[in-house]
Symmetry: C2
Subunit: 266 residues, 2 copies
Amino acid sequence: MFKEITSPQNPKIKQLVRLKDRKARDETGLFLIEGYREIKRAVEGGVHFESLFICEKLFLGSSEPLLIEQVGVETLTLPAHLFEKISYRDRPDGLIGVAHQMQKTLKDLRPKNHVPLYVVAESIEKPGNLGTILRSSDAVGADGVIVCDRCTDIYNPNVVRASVGTLFTLPVIEARGSDAYTWLKDHNIQVVAATPSATLEFTDADLSGPVAVVVGTEQLGLTDLWMQAADIRVKIPMKGIADSLNVAMATTLLLYESLRQRKRYL
Amino acid sequence: MFKEITSPQNPKIKQLVRLKDRKARDETGLFLIEGYREIKRAVEGGVHFESLFICEKLFLGSSEPLLIEQVGVETLTLPAHLFEKISYRDRPDGLIGVAHQMQKTLKDLRPKNHVPLYVVAESIEKPGNLGTILRSSDAVGADGVIVCDRCTDIYNPNVVRASVGTLFTLPVIEARGSDAYTWLKDHNIQVVAATPSATLEFTDADLSGPVAVVVGTEQLGLTDLWMQAADIRVKIPMKGIADSLNVAMATTLLLYESLRQRKRYL
């Protein structure tokens, strides 16, 4: 029923493997989505697929045929040893899609909450951290995430994985910092910058209004643009020997504190 | 001045490489500590080293000689290409120590806070998550972390790395769940279990007293022992499409909420 591929030299396999590298993703506008859950959320999020690679022997459940039908593109079957080779997971579940990048822009951001809540992630280096920031943003019901001055592109396989597919259902925008700042100001959204140099602890700040939580790299902190743009600067208290938290942790704390304060609105 | 090693076949190099595997760590009672910051914190934490492998060409600063003196054990120098091969980092900084496992027990736990705060981590699978839990526990000034029914041993190189060395300064104990439970009860510490099946949101629970936050795997949740032992069961609200947070995120949120509530004590 599906076309079968048995050689690692097959051009379609070679194209797939190339998409693990950012250069190929940037050039083609394509990227990889691996895993049942991730592909399901991509379908829900309206992502357009180009092709689907499957290995029935590795399926974990019985709903895969229905999902394959929903994806509705050329589907190629691989033997297990070949699938395991191209997978970027320890325990592949037999599904890898090649999809078109969503390439949303600031114009696609439409607040769903009465009091909007955004995240701005600046120059995040580790894909796992960026994906985790998306997962936490989904968890608090945020209106969107703006990724500024990207180090790691949002289509990196490890961003997809760490986001557990929330990349596809949450509005996630790549934008220049200055454009993001203008957009936030135009929409009367307060900029909350997380920085160890602040004197105000995050739980003492008023995060109940329309806010964008802005976080940067652990090493370098936020750029001048955001430090100067900030309406509120907050720090996370550090009571131990280490001087900072991982950036995904810091973001999650600020988002949940905002959720706690605005409980009556959401 | 230091002995030089140039061959990857050298028995000392072979022993070092073997310590990346748990089996060798369990058998020898040794483990690896890589990185200036991590080794420095291990010295501060009173860890006993066995040997030190260095590559001066890779040093990032000028304080390394002092640290080497503080470690005070047999020191071997390697050429850069060999050091890079044995390092488990992308950008090695020229320092890897072989150290004796601390092997602390419940008897080593002595609360430093007036109102103690503990973490119990049950069967955490990913070393990065376990290390991050240690980092967050340090950040809130917790009194200790009890790792129960270990999947990942605390001496895994990625636990050391993700903990940024807090593994050495924070009391971290490996214990059986039932022993940990008895210890907590004997010390009048309330057990707070994080579980999606709870009805109480964590920000509505009273976490200001002596508590141990208990977290388990994302897939399986907590075992019956802890579910039944729990004095308080709390959930973290989930407003998006995903149904859970990563376990390190969940732990960090509970710890900081406890810190927020007990601000006046710490």
